[in-house]
């Protein structure tokens, strides 16, 4: 009498196969989505700073130009974090005794720098050069997002390689006239693709080269 299993086991068997397959698919989906999620990329997550510096206040409300503080953005690979001295050039006059600014004053007094937390942190094998990007019409907020709306600064983009490639493959999708680079109000025109194509030619951007590994990795 070889009847080993109960009738229900048939359903059970088939069910287990179906669920097994389903599990496989979902786990793959979850995995791939997780790896792109802000949890991993930290995109959109505000980063605490020793001093709660508000770009919104300084940029939008006071209208200070990006380059006032990030003064090497046109010359160097790094945009530059302002030295304490830059802060004090105003804050020796205004908010001179605001408790929030205490670390700045301390730094200025005993010459120890302020240790800010990095918001845009590329892996060490990636070499990004600000100066060439602003020279070729990549706007600040194309990568940095609506900084002028940020009270506490956060990373607006995942900084994944595929994200970089998106623009390096088709710069015309994003670039704007040089003079608009620092304009945070700038809106892409309807004819972005034509404009982009025109600018790519005008700025002598060699598209093919932009996907060479050694453009970013060395």
């Amino acid at each position: 009498m070889p009847q080993v299993f109960h009738q229900s086991s048939n359903t059970l068997a088939r069910l287990s196969i179906v669920t097994g397959a389903a599990l496989l698919v979902t786990s793959v989906l979850i995995g791939s989505n997780l790896s792109r999620s802000p949890y991993v990329t930290r995109a959109g997550a505000p980063v605490d700073q020793p001093v709660p510096f508000s770009h919104k206040h300084h940029v939008k409300e006071l209208g200070i130009d990006c380059r006032y503080c990030h003064n090497t953005v046109e010359k160097s690979a790094v945009a530059g974090i302002p030295p304490t001295h830059t802060c004090m050039s105003c804050h020796s006059q205004v908010w001179t005794n605001s408790p929030l600014l205490e670390p700045i004053r301390q730094s200025y007094l005993n010459g120890t720098p302020v240790k800010w937390n990095k918001v845009y942190d590329l892996p060490d094998f990636v070499y990004f050069n600000h100066s060439i990007h602003v020279q070729k019409g990549v706007g600040c907020n194309t990568c940095h997002g609506p900084v002028h709306e940020m009270n506490i600064t956060y990373k607006a983009q995942p900084l994944s390689m595929s994200w970089c490639l998106d623009c390096h493959r088709q710069p015309e999708k994003y670039i704007r006239p040089k003079e608009e680079v620092y304009n945070y109000e700038y809106k892409q025109p309807q004819n972005q693709m034509e404009l982009g194509a025109k600018l790519v030619k005008e700025y002598g951007i060699q598209k093919g080269q932009l996907t060479d590994c050694w453009i970013c990795h060395r």
Binding site: M1, P2, Q3, F5, N10, A13, I17
Partner: protein
């Protein structure tokens, strides 16, 4: 005792006896039946009037899909999505893409054959009424069975039983649903 029957099953000692019995059952006009043997017996399927050639087709189409999937994967990666100058070779270095295409073909085809066979046989199916038949465990060892199912239009508890007993069966018994 009106237990619904799955059918009536007869046990034989040799494949030849089973074959003969099956043929006679066909002649007697039975259509819904199945034969059980511990190893594939040639002509048995025909004897119980069973033809099925789906498995080769499933395999074939799976293979074709595999080939297309394999090659287009390589084409998309090397030509469309991220073309790279590798050692001065063209993006579409088709000769280099042959091996992988071949492998995916075989892989898909094999899965086709395996899954196709199981699916068409309705496996896995751990429970089946025929297992209720007495001594049926011998079907996977040294005995040969012929089962005429209750769903058969000509099926009649008494007649069918009588018929089977006339086919030189070692033993005839009823199989519960």
């Amino acid at each position: 005792m009106s237990v619904p029957l799955h059918g009536i099953i007869a046990e034989y000692e040799t494949p030849e006896e089973l074959l003969r019995a099956a043929k006679r059952a066909r002649e007697a006009g039975y259509t819904h039946m199945d034969a059980y043997s511990p190893f594939p017996v040639h002509g048995l399927a025909e004897a119980i009037g069973f033809e099925d050639h789906k498995v080769p087709w499933v395999t074939f189409f799976a293979g074709v899909i595999g080939a297309i999937a394999g090659f287009s994967l390589q084409y998309y990666i090397s030509v469309v999505d991220y073309p790279l100058n590798v050692g001065g070779r063209p993006f579409l270095s088709w000769p280099a893409f042959i091996p992988v295409t071949f492998e995916t073909t075989v892989l898909f085809a094999a899965f086709g054959a395996f899954i196709g066979m199981l699916a068409l046989n309705g496996l896995p199916q751990p429970y089946h009424p025929v297992f209720n038949a007495p001594r049926f465990e011998r079907a996977s060892q040294d005995r040969f069975f012929l089962c005429i199912e209750a769903s058969d239009p000509l099926f009649d508890r008494a007649n069918t039983r009588h018929f089977l007993e006339g086919t030189g069966a070692r033993m005839v018994s009823e199989v519960e649903e």
